[in-house]
């Protein structure tokens, strides 16, 4: 087994064996920041999942009879109220729930599509790979907001599409839109991993023993790419949540009816707060969004370190 001590390789030292998964766990657990973030995130998810137990009012419920608008944080409303007197704290929890759902759904779809496309592209190579890479390159190089808006409106005008996926302002549509952008990043990561693995001997051995392409992809390439795939998943989630927030901020996001809200919509209201000086309207939603992004980013980074095969024998 080989040791890597800052660039210096010592060989042939016998060390008790650990499975790669155990080693990865160990390395992840060594990242104190990631553990803290997982805890914070866990708490947040718990608060969201256990709503309405954790909320104090309904999402569209007034805190009390008027005058109730723009009340600063108090015992009545922990984080203050909004323009029509609804409790910001409860709305934050409900809004985060919506945004988390959007994030998770689009991330999973992105990862699924991205894995398939990336694996096939990397494995087959050739024109398919070329074309896919060019297209995704171009898309990814564009300013996110611009591409998002242009594509959003374009899709929104296609009749049969909105029939299947829902109207432009629906949740289903936004999930679809975010997945449409999300899969490209995942595909590149998976493709890169497949390209690296393709040259390894165990793939050659599988081919020599007569395995079909799809079998190799399913049973060898994908399981060996779990690390990067998980990293891609985490970053897809945070990307989707940010994407939704950005869209909502400018008014192009989902409009869940009946007074419901999303994290992005709440952040969007921060715009007005600057002029009026009602700082809680701006601060708390922004804080929640930033904390979620930070935590997921940290976890993703720690995952990436943990699954990086640099510690394995590779010389």
């Amino acid at each position: 087994m080989q040791f890597l001590i800052r660039g210096f390789v010592l060989t042939n030292t016998v060390i008790p064996a650990m499975s790669p998964r155990q080693m990865a766990w160990r390395r992840f657990a060594g990242h104190k920041a990631a553990l803290v973030c997982s805890a914070i995130l866990g708490l947040l998810v718990l608060a969201v999942v256990l709503s309405p137990l954790t909320t104090r009012y309904g999402v569209n419920e007034s805190v009390k009879a008027p005058p109730n608008s723009y009340l600063p944080p108090s015992k009545l409303a922990w984080l203050g109220t909004d323009d029509i007197g609804r409790d910001l704290y409860s709305r934050l929890i409900y809004g985060t729930r919506v945004s988390l759902l959007i994030g998770l759904f689009s991330a999973f779809i992105s990862v699924f599509v991205g894995c398939v496309v990336g694996a096939v592209a990397g494995f087959r190579g050739g024109r398919f790979d070329d074309v896919i890479m060019r297209v995704t390159d171009l898309f990814l190089a564009f300013p996110f907001l611009v591409a998002l808006l242009v594509v959003r409106n374009m899709f929104g005008s296609i009749g049969w599409l909105t029939f299947i996926v829902g109207e432009v302002s629906s949740l289903r549509f936004i999930i679809f839109l975010l997945s449409f952008f999300g899969w490209m990043g995942v595909a590149r990561i998976v493709r890169g991993q497949v390209l690296a693995l393709k040259e390894r001997e165990f793939i050659e051995a599988a081919r020599a023993s007569g395995a079909s392409r799809s079998y190799i992809i399913k049973r060898h390439l994908i399981p060996n790419s779990i690390g990067p795939i998980m990293v891609a998943l985490t970053f897809s989630v945070v990307g989707a949540i940010s994407g939704e927030a950005t869209l909502s901020f400018f008014g192009y996001g989902p409009q869940p009816g009946a007074g419901a809200t999303s994290l992005g919509l709440l952040v969007g209201q921060a715009k007005g707060a600057v002029q009026t000086g009602f700082w809680w309207i701006a601060l708390f939603p922004c804080l929640v969004l930033v904390i979620i992004s930070l935590c997921i980013n940290f976890i993703g980074d720690a995952l990436r370190d943990a699954t990086d095969p640099r510690m394995d024998a590779g010389k």
């Binding site: 390159d137 190089a141 564009f142 300013p143 611009v146 921060a270 600057v274 000086g277 930070l294």
Partner: protein
């Protein structure tokens, strides 16, 4: 070397045409130019409408429509904005200048600070400096520009004047309203906050990339060879370490331009800075096709241009890929 650049550039024009064609289709489908025009000019005469359709290439099918638009575009026969029939070019010209100034300032500041921080972090991995830089970079990445912009606006527009009684950094526009002529100091003051907001993103991204790239390089064998030659640490770091570490960073830089432009758009909107970003959002909101198309062409062109520049600098920096 020259041939390489030429070959790469040759691809740029057809790609530009293709992408603008796709954009044309997307915008025509998505923003319904005709309806938006009618909304803004409810009393337009039939001939005006026909003229609008003609100039914007909104003919029956997409292909001929695109080419007639293209023809008008390259001959500078540009249709006017649907809002009050203003000419597009004069305002666009100013907007481009403003955005360019902001973009260049933010990129210069961001890249130089980011790369330097990244180098310092890589020199002592795991040390306090490194952890601090990493964490700061993370926070920078996790705070989207609109949030930092809002919070900064809050801080400076509302609270600073409340606490300190004056406005240190103005939070809107290029100049205070009513300003005539060129005043460098005022312009810089107005640019300070938006530049800072965009620069945060740039610093965060570049410091992390430089750090990880340099760490990789520092672990390479040729670093050991350089040390065995008895060179000074500084020379080893710069000529062997950073020089090689820049290569992957440059590749990222090209793809990153899009993010910077995106950040610009958001920042300009919040700080009421009259640049192309602000124009884009308002034009998009109005469905202002005559304004949107040139904007998109500029955006596409700059993305392709920077991609090209990155490709070429990559080839300059890394002789291995010149075997193209």
């Amino acid at each position: 070397m020259f041939r390489f650049a030429l070959r790469r550039s040759a691809w740029a024009i057809p790609t530009l045409l293709l992408v603008t064609f796709l954009v044309y289709i997307a915008l025509r489908m998505g923003t319904d130019p005709l309806a938006s025009y009618m909304r803004s000019n409810p009393r337009a005469t039939r001939s005006k409408i026909a003229q609008y359709k003609e100039l914007n290439g909104l003919g029956s099918n997409y292909v001929t429509g695109y080419f007639s638009w293209l023809q008008n575009f390259v001959t500078f026969n540009w249709p006017n904005s649907i809002k009050g029939s203003r000419e597009v070019w004069p305002e666009l010209k100013d907007a481009i200048a403003n955005s360019a100034r902001l973009g260049i300032a933010a990129t210069t500041v961001g890249v130089s600070i980011g790369l330097t921080i990244g180098i310092f972090a890589a020199l002592r991995p795991g040390g306090k400096r490194d952890v601090a830089v990493n964490t700061a970079a993370f926070v920078g990445i996790s705070i989207p520009p609109y949030i930092s912009a809002i919070l900064l606006q809050l801080l400076f527009a509302v609270y600073w004047s409340k606490w300190f009684g004056n406005t240190l950094f103005p939070t809107s526009g290029v100049y205070p309203p009513g300003q005539d002529g060129f005043d460098l100091v005022l312009m810089l003051k107005h640019m300070a906050l938006p530049t800072f907001v965009v620069a945060i993103q740039v610093i965060a991204v570049y410091s992390r990339y430089m750090r990880s790239s340099l760490l990789d390089v520092l672990n390479s064998d040729y670093m050991r060879t350089a040390r065995s030659k008895g060179l000074s640490e500084f020379r080893i770091l710069m000529r062997h370490g950073v020089r090689n570490a820049l290569i992957p960073v440059i590749t990222i830089a090209a793809l990153d331009i899009g993010a910077i432009v995106g950040g610009l758009i958001i920042t300009e909107n919040i700080f009421d800075y009259p640049g192309t970003g602000k124009y884009f959002l308002s034009a998009f909101g109005n469905g202002d096709f005559p304004l949107l198309m040139p904007l998109m062409v500029i955006i596409v062109a700059s993305v392709l241009l920077f991609n090209l520049l990155a490709d070429i600098s990559y080839a300059i920096l890394d002789p291995r890929i010149r075997l193209d």
